[in-house]
Symmetry: C2
Subunit: 245 residues, 2 copies
Amino acid sequence: MTALEHPLDPLVIKFRQHTALKAEDEAAIRGLPAIVRWVEPGSYVVREGDRPTDCALLLSGFACRHKLTMDGDRQIVSIQIPGDPLDLQHLFLDIADHNVQTLSRAELAFLPRSALQAITLAHPNIARAVSISNAVEASVFREWVLNVGRRDGRRRIAHLLCEFAVKMDVQGLSDGAGYSFPMTQEQLGDATGLTSVHVNRMLRALESEGLLKRHGRSIAFPNADALRSVADFNTRYLHLGRQET
Amino acid sequence: MTALEHPLDPLVIKFRQHTALKAEDEAAIRGLPAIVRWVEPGSYVVREGDRPTDCALLLSGFACRHKLTMDGDRQIVSIQIPGDPLDLQHLFLDIADHNVQTLSRAELAFLPRSALQAITLAHPNIARAVSISNAVEASVFREWVLNVGRRDGRRRIAHLLCEFAVKMDVQGLSDGAGYSFPMTQEQLGDATGLTSVHVNRMLRALESEGLLKRHGRSIAFPNADALRSVADFNTRYLHLGRQET
DNA sequence: CGTTATCTTGACCGTCGTCAAACAGGGTGG
DNA sequence: CCACCCTGTTTGACGACGGTCAAGATAACG
């Protein structure tokens, strides 16, 4: 809201959640040549097989990473919320191994890969921030393997919702009432390895247990502790807070 | 076999698969203070919740990363073969989010975390190599989410076997005959989100289709192309070869 | 206000889990 | 050398979680 606001502030804020940045580091980030653009829901930011030239940052709206099997089944492997870098994962890889697609209308900042690589060479703190960001995302992927591989449908969905809620809270994107949830039940199925029909059954089961409340596209958790317990949810894998050593 | 051989050569070789290193970079790696030790099968190298002080490299034998649900179900999230770094994943994270455990008798080289961090600061090429190594591992986790989430038991197992074979080939660890496979059927189940009983069924199904042959602890693939086709396997996610940009 | 996407529900079916028992192999010790 | 484990593999019967198909109800949206 102030005149000092900069489009890349969300990236600075995200990095500072995990590591200390000096004023010069932050200045260097703000000095990156960013192109900001709004895109429609369902827009591809990265496509598997692409040779990425830019790295996008999600300023507002929601996106997901996903992969497809040969016969067209889709698996969403992570959900991105405002402030998330969308393809730091590919900063050191030539060919994209998965797709990144928006789930809603979204505002993106595009940063040239070369500029980002250069900045990590010149600023060790930024290199460190990028490494931590990617390491945390890798940890989330591991948790998702566990989620999809070893929890039943009800717990899987509960776990995904807990993760979403915590990430939104950390970004300061939740009002007291609840969350505006960006996924259809079909997409929820793609993220949990279930069908939309079964997602519906489990969602209503959770609702009838009093673990969540839905009105339209928004969702609330009247008893977050109970939900976390059902979900077998522990925030450790999100590595919240400064990584000191 | 020569006098010039060094315990950390496998790490140098691994890094060189993905990026160019100068002589001084390699010298710096070989200069790291490594402690080499043999451990028994089932030894924990890292435990979830630990604050790691060392980074282990797997010199010989096999290991896996895994996580546990609250009620004790195990999910293996990756398999490590000789030459693999075992917890570069935690180099920038304070608290371990998963376990690393040997699947067989194994020879490990332990490197102090601090020394590794220092070397990445002094040698940009090594920093890059570490980033690439971690990025490739993250890509493998994504593929595992897809594997466990969207493929049936038969394809899941076939996919895991294909990945194992390719990684062994790249490391030059396969003779023409086949592979010595380090996992029990129970562990294979933990890696694919199945039970050992169902793993057995699918393994015999694949065998009766002529897609694999087993004698004791070793496995061969008489028709690798057909197996890859069943597995929906594509090497792209392994990012084999130099990452140039 | 019509059109389309999304959600909801029911009936039915298949993959995979559970439980249990038999079997093979490899190591150990008497 | 053989008996005896212990671990891992193999098999069968049965049941459940979740998939499939199809229809109808709601909500989103131009």
